[in-house]
Amino acid sequence: MKTPRILRTSSFRLAALYAGLFVLSMGALFAIVYWLASDVLRDQARASVMSELRELTPTNPARSNDWLIAEISDRIATASQHGRYYGLQNQTGRIVAGDLPGPPTQMGWQELVAPNPSGARGAANASDDPEIVLLAFAHPLGDGRTLTVALDTFKISEAQEAIILAFAWAAAVGGMLALFGGVVLSRGFLKRVDGFNRAVENIIEGHMDERLGLSGAGDELDQLGGNFNEMLDRLQALMESLKQVSSDIAHDLRTPLSRLRQHLEAARGDARRMEDYETAVDQAVVDTDLILSTFSALLRITQIESGTRRSSFRSINLSAVYQNVAEVYAPVIDDAGKALAIDIMPDLEITGDHELLTQQLANLIENAITHTPPGTNVWLNLHQGAQGPIGLLGDNGPGIAETERHKIFERFHRLDVSRTTPGNGLGLALVKAVADLHGATITVTDNLPGTTFAIHFKQQAPEKTETV
């Protein structure tokens, strides 16, 4: 037989374990209470017997045998309600006074078992048992007689029974409640897990928009569901970007591929001389290189976005990177008929990737070179901001329209005005990917006219922040 599902849930098992532990601790508590209470009750009984004996023991020789007998019968009449028994034996051991059911077996403390004399002694403190157990103390009076006082232990056993009963009920009810609580908890848990399962099944079937339902309680299950949803969001975004990239590749590579094909076809049809063929082959190699460079740029961006390069991050001198790139491009900018102003604060350090940061800045500078007319001023600054170094590349060129600004970091996005300039539309996508990898943010502002790109790096060198 298969165990019902509810019994197999972890929350029910936990509840059952707690119920078991609860019953066990109740048992321990019971044992302690029972033992202590019995002890106290027995001590009280002994004290009561002893005080009774003290009062009856004739300390005054003037008090005669008759006084004792009268006193005993007197006490029997008044103290019968307390379950006490008295017995006075003469020298031969015969009971001459009192109502003790039988003679004591020895001197001192003992337990006497006698038939229940119930009825004769009033029902209030009597048990229905056929026998009574008496706690007795036999005391030699010195003249050969023995005085015995006994107390019915019925009250003690009654209290003990009450304790047992109370604990039995408490354990039973507590255990049941714990189990019941476990079932209820498991039900709620199972219901939510079922909800999760249904959602996941839907997602498996291809409904990528489906998300796990959250109760809003903010508990662990909600956290789990929330994390799952975040993961799904991220996966979906990745799938979307993958889809986007695939269609981008299909679209953006079709142009150079068809151009290559046209060139080859033209060569087959028109080339007559060796030189014609050589020109055609050279052209084909150029076309192919263009396609390959687009491919490798895409692969590089994908690799950067995957974040695996973060493992090779080291503390690097960002100022040196900027200085190197600026020096490399200064003559290029100069030859293009533009001016470059450089202002780099020395020895700014961040944790990052030397090669990628070099390429990031190079791409930004190349953008400024390619997309501005001669006579444009370009400036490159690196200074320390509040959060970390800030790299700025500005120009007073034509600028980027406000509506286009958010799209420029997308892959293959090219402004209409720049369709005719060389480039694959991946330069800024890489700039963005490198910034994301370094936890840096990029802002684009209008210089009226012109554009400034600002890269806000985060200070990631902990030893520097600690000394502040």
Partner: protein
């Protein structure tokens, strides 16, 4: 030069071997890392060209093993995997240079030549000269025919690299990687601009130019035309 080519792709291997033989090199070809290891350990080669992905023993492990055994033959890694991680990994495991497929044969040839004729790494040489052009690496001074020429730091770095590879063809990519630490292909004329500036300083006003353009390959610094 005697070159060991370890490449499992038959087409690529045949193409590389044929082209290198046309340039007068002797080629031994192994198709697995294990065979490559045995060949490299047993014979003397001037250079090895090793594919990263090889059956039985991959290129990285093969080169690591060779380096561990004290074999110092220069190694050029070939790979279809792009990206910088692989390059760094390759260099760290004992490779000397790295080339990503697909590549132009001229690029491979230039790099193989540069590797095989690499000067021994001793810090003793502080002056280099080609014809009447001399540079002092310590004082960072350049003279041609006794006349002092002032160079910008980047120009000096470029000239130093060219002088270290005198008589060899250096490609655009080799210059980008080794002179400016650019491990990507810029879309602007970075290399051309710097070469032209350098030419303006060291060749202009002299009868015989030292910096030559090698069509389809790169540049070469040499005395005779």
């Amino acid at each position: 030069m005697k070159i060991l080519l370890v490449e499992d792709d038959e087409d690529t291997a045949a193409y590389i071997a044929k082209s290198l033989r046309q340039h007068g090199h002797v080629i031994d070809h192994a198709t697995t890392g294990r065979d490559g290891l045995f060949l490299a350990a047993g014979e003397h080669y001037d250079t090895m060209i090793v594919d990263r992905m090889l059956p039985e023993l991959d290129g990285l492990a093969m080169v690591k093993t060779l380096r561990g055994a004290g074999v110092t033959i220069p190694v050029l890694f070939l790979t279809t995997l792009g990206g910088i991680d692989d390059r760094v990994e390759g260099l760290e495991s004992g490779g000397d240079d790295y080339l990503v497929k697909p590549f132009a044969f001229s690029e491979l040839l230039a790099r193989v030549n540069a590797l095989a004729r690499r000067p021994p790494p001793n810090g003793q040489q502080t002056t280099l000269s080609v014809g009447n052009l001399k540079i002092d690496l310590l004082k960072r001074e350049v003279t041609r025919a006794g006349r002092r020429i002032a160079l910008q730091p980047q120009e000096f770095k470029l000239l130093e690299y060219l002088m270290c590879h005198t008589g060899q063809v250096v490609t655009r990519t080799m210059l980008l990687e080794n002179v400016w630490e650019f491990h990507f292909d810029p879309h602007t004329t970075v290399v051309e601009t710097h070469i032209s500036r350098l030419r303006g300083k060291i060749d202009q006003g002299f009868d015989r130019p030292l910096i030559h353009t090698v069509r389809g390959s790169g540049y070469c610094l040499r005395e005779d035309a």
